[in-house]
């Protein structure tokens, strides 16, 4: 079990990570989701022991890892650009970790074949790594990390360099392998689809801190802040003022430039407070809040239409409205604080 307490890191006098703490249980896959440059890769390197900590602690099963050098931690790493050894073929790449542990050649051979089978690369042993396609190279990188039987796996945006179809295929395979082997994993990405597909728990990283964590469903349905809502693309974020409490739902009456809405909210507000509201982009049948406006633009998207209104809000609708048509949509509003 991995416990990370209060990790801090400054990069060229600017704070990069500001008190990161989380726990990773057995067999769990967590995902660190955040924009590019938010320090996710640095965090992985710190856990791997490849980068020194400015502050904080890393514990594995209760034992402090600060005195353990990187090559003794038994944490596997998979990178975005694979980092395969160009002077070794597939077999030698995968066998590298086993050689470092001084395994006998017979055992090495058996294990390499077993692991290559796991990633669907049977028969690739003698190929040169520079001759392989992106997807094949990534599988070799995964096999290489898996071969020595690490106690933790860390993925640094491993699918970023691949095209969409390949990404989805590999993601599904990866999920299967992680479940089958039961190795706990930390997966870092800026792509939320990836994060939501693979993670048991998602940790959102913003300005050096974890601003929200939970299962994908939890994070999706109850965003904690404006930033989370915007980063995950959950919908339209609008501003408003609290007018008075009470009304049908015992929530707040909020005045916005799109209208006055009745919002149920658990935050301690006072009359006159400025709040941010999330307007989910799908029409909600049983809601009492409505919005009326003219259609500015309509774009076909997958199985519906993305409709943008004159006032700037967007919605996904099943039926195609005409541009310039005045429509009314029942909307679901949530308070973001």
């Amino acid at each position: 079990m991995l416990k990370v307490y209060d990790l801090c890191k400054t990069y060229e006098t600017q704070p990069l990570l500001n008190g990161i703490s989380f726990v990773l249980g057995a067999g769990e896959t967590i995902c660190l989701l955040g924009p590019s440059g938010s320090g996710k890769s640095t965090l992985l390197r710190m856990i791997a022991g490849l980068e020194p900590l400015d502050a904080g602690q890393i514990l594995w099963d209760g034992e402090d890892l600060s005195s353990t050098p990187a090559h003794l931690r038994d944490f596997g790493l998979v990178f975005q650009d694979y980092a395969l050894f160009p002077h070794l073929n597939v077999f030698d790449n995968v066998a590298f970790g086993l050689k470092m542990k001084n395994w006998k050649s017979v055992e090495i051979r058996a294990r390499v074949i077993e692991v290559l089978d796991l990633v669907n690369l049977r028969g690739f042993e003698l190929r040169k790594v520079t001759d392989l396609s992106g997807g094949e190279q990534q599988r070799v990188a995964l096999a290489r990390a898996l071969a020595p039987g690490p106690r933790l796996l860390m993925f640094d945006e491993p699918l970023g360099a691949l095209d969409r179809a390949l990404r989805e295929e590999l993601l599904a395979e990866l999920r299967g392998i992680l479940h089958r082997t039961g190795i706990p994993a930390v997966y870092v990405t800026h792509d939320q689809d990836e994060a939501f597909t693979i993670a048991d728990r998602v940790l959102l990283l913003h300005e050096g801190q974890i601003v929200q964590q939970g299962t994908p469903a939890e994070v999706w349905s109850k965003p904690d802040s404006v930033w989370v809502a915007q980063f995950l693309g959950l919908g339209n974020v609008i501003e408003g003022n609290c007018r008075s409490q009470g009304g049908k739902s015992k929530g707040w009456e909020v005045e916005t430039r799109f209208g006055i809405f009745d919002v149920k909210c658990g935050h301690p507000h006072q009359a006159g407070d400025k709040v941010h509201l999330l307007v989910r982009p799908r029409a909600a049948a049983g809601e009492s809040n409505k919005i009326q406006d003219r259609v500015a633009d309509v774009v076909f998207q997958q199985d519906g239409f993305k409709v943008r209104l004159d006032d700037g809000l967007y919605f996904y609708l099943k039926n195609e409205p005409k541009i310039g048509q005045k429509i009314e949509i029942k909307i679901k509003l949530e308070c973001l604080g």
């Binding site: 490849l50 990187a70 990178f79 650009d81 395969l84 050894f85 970790g97």
Partner: protein, 557 residues
């Protein structure tokens, strides 16, 4: 089109044909004739060849020993004075051999600083009547080796630190996460990937050490002779031209083999999949700090001390103690410099020594003009290569491979009596400088976009105006660079000039050589003064070149 190309090549090819290829074939004819290839000659050739390989091999080994840690130092660490130190290590490569030899002489020679210091210490401590005998340096193999290391370390540093910086740091991270400690990361990942560049650097250093002339002659003394030196001895002192030609042929053969090996290796340098320069950091652990300080000190001692010793020595006057032995420092003097202007009755020259400086400058000027006149057409043709250029390109490299002494030998064998003219020297200098000039001009010319010229022409500019307004501004920098190259090479040229110069038209390197080979404090002092002068002139030339370094000329190797 074809006609224009032929016109461009006319001048340079005629030049090369008459002054290089014709002498080259005469050398072959002389050296490979039946009388020359006989037992005693072959025995001499074999011994000389053996020694040449031996000293080149040792020098290369020592250069690697110094250069590899330095490459690591420069590519991984950040420290105060790093860029200065880095620039300093590249200066020796272009310094004339006589300057380097004089510098080491001034530091470690019998009248050099180390011995002077030790003598004062000795006399101060012991007050013994027995004079202090200086530590032997000049005339030992050690002197040759150390000068070679001084010259060629920069090659190792440049090539290897470039490769080291290009290594993806993620490869090391991956290796570490798979259980490799530092030693195994180096052994299993870094060194295998560096091997091609290390081998390429070694081969290049070996090539330079193999053809070394001035260092062997000036610091090795009469006991040591490489192929190059032996060619000189046989040609000028033994007057045995056929044997000299045979030696020249053997050397050319060896150079050809090594050059082919080198080009094979250079293409095999592994291209990194994601080249990004490793972040350099300040030394943190005690071990790292010791490493950085130790090697900075070593580099300082190796590269700066000899070059400081030289000018200091040229202004120091010494007193010989009662009873002889090593002299002691007594004060500063400008006497050696003023002496250069006087023509003593029994001097080694027929003219005041300062005349040598004027000759050198004159020859250098002529070399610049000649090599630019020949280099521009050749570079223009090469910049837009057609079928003709692909055949000619490797031919142009050949003079670069032939050593200067061999070039001069070719002159002597081919033109004999015509060598009375003092014009022979700048012609030889041009031959040596031409490849560098062409290689400097070519990328600049190639960089002028044809569309600019077309645009100018469509706006009404005549060919001359096009050249004036489009080509020249772009070429100005490159021309200055090429001129600086030719100037510096000509000033410092020693080997060919030694064979070809008339006694009454000496150049600075020849003057230094003559002064150093004669006894006496005055001669020694004048040698130091002239060497300091030459060092100042060539350093100015080098700085000019370095400042205007164009992308593309970095791969002169």
């Amino acid at each position: 089109m074809m006609n224009r190309r032929v016109l461009l090549w006319l001048a340079p090819l005629t030049f090369l044909g008459v002054l290089f290829f014709y002498p080259f074939f005469r050398i072959l004819a002389f050296g490979l004739s039946m009388e020359t290839v006989k037992a005693d000659n072959l025995q001499l050739v074999f011994h000389v060849l053996l020694f040449t390989f031996y000293q080149a091999f040792l020098s290369t080994l020592l250069t690697l020993l110094v250069g590899l840690p330095c490459a690591y130092l420069f590519s991984r660490f950040d420290f105060h004075g790093k860029s200065l130190l880095r620039a300093l290590t590249t200066v020796p490569f272009m310094l004339p051999t006589v300057v380097v030899a004089a510098g080491f002489n001034a530091l470690l020679g019998p009248r050099g600083w180390i011995n002077i210091g030790l003598a004062s210490l000795f006399n101060g401590l012991t007050h013994s009547p027995v004079p202090f005998s200086p530590i032997p340096f000049v005339g030992t193999l050690g002197a040759i080796l150390i000068a070679h290391v001084f010259y060629n370390t920069t090659i190792v540093i440049r090539l290897v630190s470039h490769a080291l910086s290009g290594l993806d740091p993620k490869l090391e991270h991956a290796a570490r996460s798979l259980g490799a400690d530092s030693r195994r990361v180096w052994g299993h990942v870094i060194l295998p990937l560096l091997l091609p560049s290390i081998l390429a650097a070694s081969l290049l250093v070996f090539l330079f050490d193999f053809t070394s002339f001035g260092v062997i002659l000036l610091l090795g003394g009469p006991t040591f002779a490489t192929l190059e030196v032996e060619i000189y001895i046989q040609a000028l002192q033994m007057l045995n031209l056929p044997l000299a030609a045979l030696l020249a042929f053997i050397q050319l053969l060896c150079i050809l083999i090594f050059s082919i090996l080198y080009t094979r290796l250079a293409t095999r340098v592994v291209v990194q999949s994601a080249p990004r320069s490793t972040l350099q950091h300040k030394a943190k652990t005690i071990r790292e700090r010791i490493f950085v300080i130790a090697f900075c000190t070593l580099l300082f001692a190796l590269f700066i001390l000899p070059m400081l010793a030289l000018p200091l020595r040229s202004v120091s006057s010494l007193n010989v103690l009662r009873g002889g032995g090593t002299p002691v420092l007594s004060g500063l003097t400008a006497g050696y410099y003023t002496e250069l202007f006087i023509n003593r009755r029994d001097s080694l020259f027929y003219v005041p020594p300062i005349q040598a400086a004027l000759n050198s400058l004159g020859y250098a000027g002529a070399t610049v003009i000649l090599s630019l006149l020949l280099g521009f057409p050749a570079a223009s043709a090469l910049a837009r290569p057609g079928r003709l250029e692909r055949i000619l390109d490797p031919i142009l490299i050949l003079p670069l491979g032939a050593s200067a002494v061999t070039l001069a030998l070719g002159f002597i064998i081919a033109f004999g009596r015509l060598l009375i003219s003092p014009w022979v020297v700048p012609l030889a200098h041009t031959l040596v400088a031409l490849p560098f000039v062409i290689r400097t001009l070519q990328p600049a010319i190639a960089a002028i976009p044809e569309r600019l010229r077309q645009a100018a022409a469509s706006l009404g500019a005549s060919p001359f105006r096009v050249w004036q307004n489009v080509d020249w501004p772009i070429l100005r920098r490159a021309t200055l660079n090429a001129a600086a190259f030719a100037f510096t090479i000509s000033l410092g040229e020693f080997g060919a000039t030694l064979l070809l110069a008339r006694p009454d038209y000496p150049t600075i390197p020849i003057a230094i050589y003559r002064f150093l080979s004669q006894p006496g404090a005055l001669n020694y002092g004048q040698a130091m003064a002239m060497a300091t002068l030459l060092m100042a002139l060539t350093t100015a030339g080098i700085l000019l070149i370095e400042k205007g370094r164009l992308p593309g000329t970095e791969n002169l190797f």
